[in-house]
Amino acid sequence: MSALTGCRILVVEDEYLLSRQLTRALEREGASVACVPTVPAALASLTEALALDVAVLDVNLAGAKVYPVAEELARRNVPFVFCSGYDAEDRDPRFADAAHLTKPIAMPVLLRCLTGLITSGKPAAPHVDT
């Protein structure tokens, strides 16, 4: 049984095909997944959501940055990982310590990262593409 079984995972990803791919992969691990494409949708889902275990955040959502969602997650102590086409060093310095994966994402790497975040609050090393 996977460490992700029964976990509630929020995926914020504007690219439908990527969100579908992530959802399928995470559901195969037994997680329940909510996918949203925008910052407002993500914030709305947070206010109504049951307790989240972890979140996967695409940084650039059709030109808008996902950081308000990251702030809200941090406030709620929900661990998250950034997935981005940008380099890790380009991210907002407020989140310099956050986990970061560079696209395209290798699914085993993402699964290991999420497992680390859920079990220890920290991503399992080695995880960050630099």
């Binding site: 990527l18 969100s19 925008t38 395209p104």
Partner: protein, 550 residues
Amino acid sequence: MLAGLAVRSDLLVSAKLTNYGSGMALLSCKSTPASDSFDWSQTPLGPREQWSASLRQAIDGALGVGEGDAPSPAATLDALFTAAPLGLAIWDRNFRFVRVNDSLAEMNGLSPEEHVGRLPQELLPDIAELDKMVGQWREILRTGEPWLDVEVQGGTPAAPDQQRNWTEHFFPIRSGEEIVGIGAVVEETTERRRIEAAFRASEARFREFAEASSDVLWLRNTETNEFEFLSLSLRKLFGVEPGSGDGHGAAEFNWLSAIVPEDRDAALAALAGVRQGRRVTHDFRTRIPGSGKVRVLKNTAFPLRDPDGRIRRIGGIAQDVTEERDTAQRLQTLIGELQHRTRNLMGVVQAVADSTLAASGSLGEFEVAFGARVAALSRVQNLLSRLEGLERIGFDELLRTELNAFCALPQDDRRVSITGPEEVPLRSGGIQTLALALHELITNATKYGALSQPDARLAINWQIVSASADAQPRLQVQWVESGVAMPSGAGQERAGHHDAGRAHGGQGRELIEHAVPYQLDATVDFALTPDGVHCTILLPISQTWMAKAA
């Protein structure tokens, strides 16, 4: 030395002249206790340390301070005449040479003996304005006043083709109260003038370079802290007026106040480094008076030392690198965006491969469907790569590109009609997904729908609609297939493709019905009617275009 020459010794001895300027002060220095306590450096003889031994002996003798027995005044004057590094001459009242020393004889290209008894006009006809000079000599005889700092120009037999220069001092020679002749001290200045002229030309060339350069050249005195030079480009930039003096009015230019406050400390630190002898390159931003625009200057400053090694000046070259920095910044952003787009696209291709594989019954099926989808992605990349700045892809352009890939443009396929305004700009986010959805609609039509049967029709219409006066206008696209004959069973089979999710029928429908609403904030109404597929898509359009249209 005097042998054979008709020289009146009283004339020589009486050449203890008074007050004809700095030139021959030595002869009136009887009251000076010692030659070495007098500042000789201001006289044409120069500092005492540089005198030859014979000159020193001669002067000391004349002043009566030499060692041992003082030579006679006449002998002293002889020695002086011989040893002086300057040309010396004496004329009688008729302006005939009485005596010249070796230095002057050499300048004139004649021996000292050849001078005696002759007029300057006879010996030196190529000296310019000789008559005027002789006229002035008469004034000396008449008034007893010396004539100093006379610039003389011309040629002599020593070098007939060469124009030379001298600075000469003329003074009366007295015997008692009577003026018995004229003396002269002659210094050749040809070389000095040549050097000065070359220096001026070089200076002028430097200024021309500096003024023509778009870089700012500057020179600052470390003691007065004033600018000694500030080239035109900066003067223009800061409206510094060329004022009095060499500094072009730049002396009082307050460079520090022109620098934006945040960069002042670093600029001062850089300058301090130069004062300590380092060459420093640093950037600072500066605000242009009037416009208030901020420019970025890259400044290279270096110490300029005097022969003792002390730093007397700081030189600098400042280059306006504003555009360069902006361009670099833009390029960096573009590279970042390109990288982002590429990585995203790789993710999309990977996802398309995953989902196509999951929906394919065989590798052959996968090959066809995957190849077609990657081709559709390539086409939309092509469209995106042609855009500049804030340009957007028009819906008609995207549609035509996809139809063309299937040879299904109206001019190629009479079953197809398309109607709608041109260049309705699409939001750039999600355009790939919309292209894939159109691709799936056309693929389905080609396989099972209007484009698979000779008598069927496909009409694609689009228009801008507003739900209400306040609502954002949206683009409504209607895809209407008609006259599609559904042989019994075949319709079921086709519906099966869509509904059961078999092969890419199901996957295509997922793209149309789920991906487009998710990613484009669109509503999609897809219906498989007995007449064929009817699909209506309502999607937002680019805000920039709407702002432009407003």
